[in-house]
Symmetry: C2
Subunit: 428 residues, 2 copies
């Protein structure tokens, strides 16, 4: 066996590793599988609980020490020699959007588990402890807040907020958490012992594929705003109410959304905006809608540009509501600033990619990730593998085994440098 | 006591009668009551069954022979002397829209029961049998079809269709009917013994109130079309998909609805159109909508004008879908022509109103009613009482006791002429 490689990892077979990752992802996707091939695994739902339990069993099989914190973040730990040099953490989120894919979030967890198993088998005990975490929630698909898992680890959310947040069925986050067996105060989620956080994720866009690249090294996550808009008019009979006497909440909402899209298209990329959720009351064919609720999701890498565009749209919405004589409420429930990733870790990744002959690029992330909650507190890296056709949040989400394997190799080598050789990262 | 009145009914106290009607309507509104003061009584639901049973008990107390047919239409009969001169039928529908009012449909049933009780107490057995009917369904709020009750009586729907129609939860009309204890073949709903049909209803619009009138004598019910439009695009991530690469089903639907309202407003009254129902898939804030389903309800008194406007909107929808590269399906599930009411019965009502000093007008009905299914087969009359503020299909629906009482007096007198004096109507 030749030992001439510059890196001990080049001899790994990316595709073989990727096939094992794919098998694990397919197994995990049975929890919350729908009949179209998609996955719906909302926070604290039955399928989420089953998936988290399956991961715990797999972590134990991978030789890791398993623990759950009080909100349902699941950790697998590879104990290190040094007690006071902090913990290297890798991982991503277990929850999905409604009708999502097999890779989003889940890949970062599976990759972390496989990397830790491989490191343990090859190199034994690391200097710093290394952990993989399956974060309980990131998407904001069940409750109107995102990154509940990493947010609690970093103290961005208090436990008190859980009693005030409700899902679409009026169940509070607190009640859902208790129903799932969490919310005990024993294993407090907040941590202060992290030396570095590394997240591996699918790109969820089409740039890497377009450019024939295998790895995206993220330098920045875009700023995001999400708001819920409620328009209130007057319900009335669809046949007997002349058009000019109506207070039709949907007609007003349609005008607002049309203005939103026109404005965003005029501004041009990289600004994006989406109305993904809408609810009519009473939602009956022959009744004029009294109330329409819809969400606005708007993103841009530059905080200032995003603030301006959002304010302009809000002014347009108010102008429509006022002209049509309807009431309007806008609840801005997410307002995250643009976040930079750690420069030293980006440098280390670039070096490793170049040494291994992996084609990479630096890029911004148009999607939010748990990494953005860690980045203000700890040296944080975010790596992407390509998404076929740029498709995500859909049953058509796909990354080839070879590309999965290349991502896992890069993650494994980075964790080796951080955990075994103490390159970069904070001492806690 | 003076006997100088031209009509025996002028001495009735409209307000006293109306207060009894209001008490009955309030009692009935407990079945399906919501916490806003509205009523939701969907076909074959638990609240619908309870309400129909309460009406059956009340009919028996009013001295009527009670029977249910095989789809759940409830009859109260006042037996006449003549066997071969047909039956005079009055009544309306028991079901409501989601979050509807206490008066729509229910008033016509309550009024019929009170009229029959009053006629029986004052005049005994009529010449022709007179029946009040509580029709099982008219609104089309649970299943995508309207007037299931009168449609089955008149043979407009076959029983076979019930297996093919589903509600929003995927329950077939057939299954819902069986669950409610109907769909036995013993008491076949089809009838051929009707001499005349009379329906008393709230106006659901504001013309009578505006003009200070008590009774609307309907000459024509508008033509109506209702369609379900399905737009299919491609689901994708709200943050990583540039605007120009999206196939956003909601953005397309918004453009279509905006065009629809612009076209209808340009055409002007009496054309009306409403998008009352909308459903997004997957309906999540951070996912681009893959599919949007919405309904279009369009009405005009002139069949030809309605056909043209609807076709023009359909062409606009197709143009949008084609330009944006999305697929479009339009399912026209209701297409009812304009229907004229019986001229002789209108004349009789005008005479009676004038004789009693009741202020009335002739008007078209912008709403569909069970009367329009009876009208092509039997002499049919439709009378309106005012709706406060023109509001209907809402918890704010209201008609004063005095106006309810005036309507019941007019109905009672018309039934007297038809049932006791054999004025007008077909011999069966």
């Amino acid at each position: 066996m030749s030992e001439s490689h510059a890196s001990p990892f080049v001899s790994f077979k990316a595709e073989w590793i990727g096939l094992e990752a794919e098998r694990r992802l397919v197994r995990l996707s049975q929890y919350g599988a729908d009949d179209r091939g998609g996955v719906t695994r909302l926070l604290y739902s039955a399928s989420w609980i089953d998936a988290q339990q399956a991961l715990a069993a797999q972590m134990a099989e991978d030789g890791l020490e398993v623990r759950l914190d009080s909100v349902g973040n699941l950790y697998g730990r590879l104990q290190g020699e040094a007690e006071n040099e902090g913990v290297i953490v890798t991982g991503s989120h277990l929850d999905t959007v409604v009708g999502g894919g097999k890779y989003d979030g889940a890949f970062g967890i599976v990759a972390g588990m496989m990397a830790l198993r491989s490191l343990k088998e090859r190199y034994g005990r690391p200097r710093r402890s290394i952990e993989v975490v399956s974060l309980c929630e990131e998407e904001g698909s069940r409750f109107p807040l995102t990154c509940w898992g990493s947010g609690r680890i970093l103290g961005s959310y208090s436990s008190a907020i859980a009693a005030t947040i409700e899902d679409g069925d009026g169940i509070t986050l607190q009640a859902a958490m208790q129903e799932a067996g969490f919310a005990n105060e024993e294993k407090e989620p907040i941590r202060s012992d992290i030396a570095a956080f590394v997240e591996l994720h699918i790109e969820q866009g089409g740039r890497l594929e377009d450019e024939g690249l295998s790895i995206g090294i993220v330098d920045r996550i875009v700023a995001q705003k999400r708001a819920t808009v409620t328009v209130r008019g007057r319900s009335n009979h669809a046949g007997t109410t002349p058009m000019h006497l109506r207070k039709d909440a949907l007609a007003a909402a349609v005008e607002m959304i049309e203005k939103l899209y026109r404005k965003v298209n005029e501004e041009g990329g990289p600004l994006v905006a989406t109305v993904g959720f809408m609810k009519l009351v009473p939602n009956t064919p022959n009744v004029i809608p009294e109330q329409v609720t819809f969400t606005v999701d708007m993103r841009h890498p530059d905080d200032f540009v995003l603030d301006n565009c959002f304010a302009a749209c809000k002014a347009e919405f108010n102008a429509s509501a006022s002209r049509l004589g309807l009431s309007l409420n806008m609840d801005l429930w997410m307002d995250s600033k643009s976040v930079a990733m750690n420069a030293s870790l980006q440098g280390l990744l670039r070096e490793q990619c170049d040494r291994s002959g992996v084609r990479w690029r630096t890029m911004a992330s148009g999607a939010g990730h748990d990494a953005q909650l860690f980045a203000p507190f700890y040296p944080t890296a975010l790596l992407f593998v390509p998404s076929r056709g740029g498709i995500s949040h859909s049953e058509h989400e796909y990354t080839s085994p070879e590309e999965l394997g290349t991502g896992i190799e890069r993650l494994t080598e980075l964790l080796y440098e951080l955990g075994y050789r103490n390159r970069e990262g904070n001492a806690s």
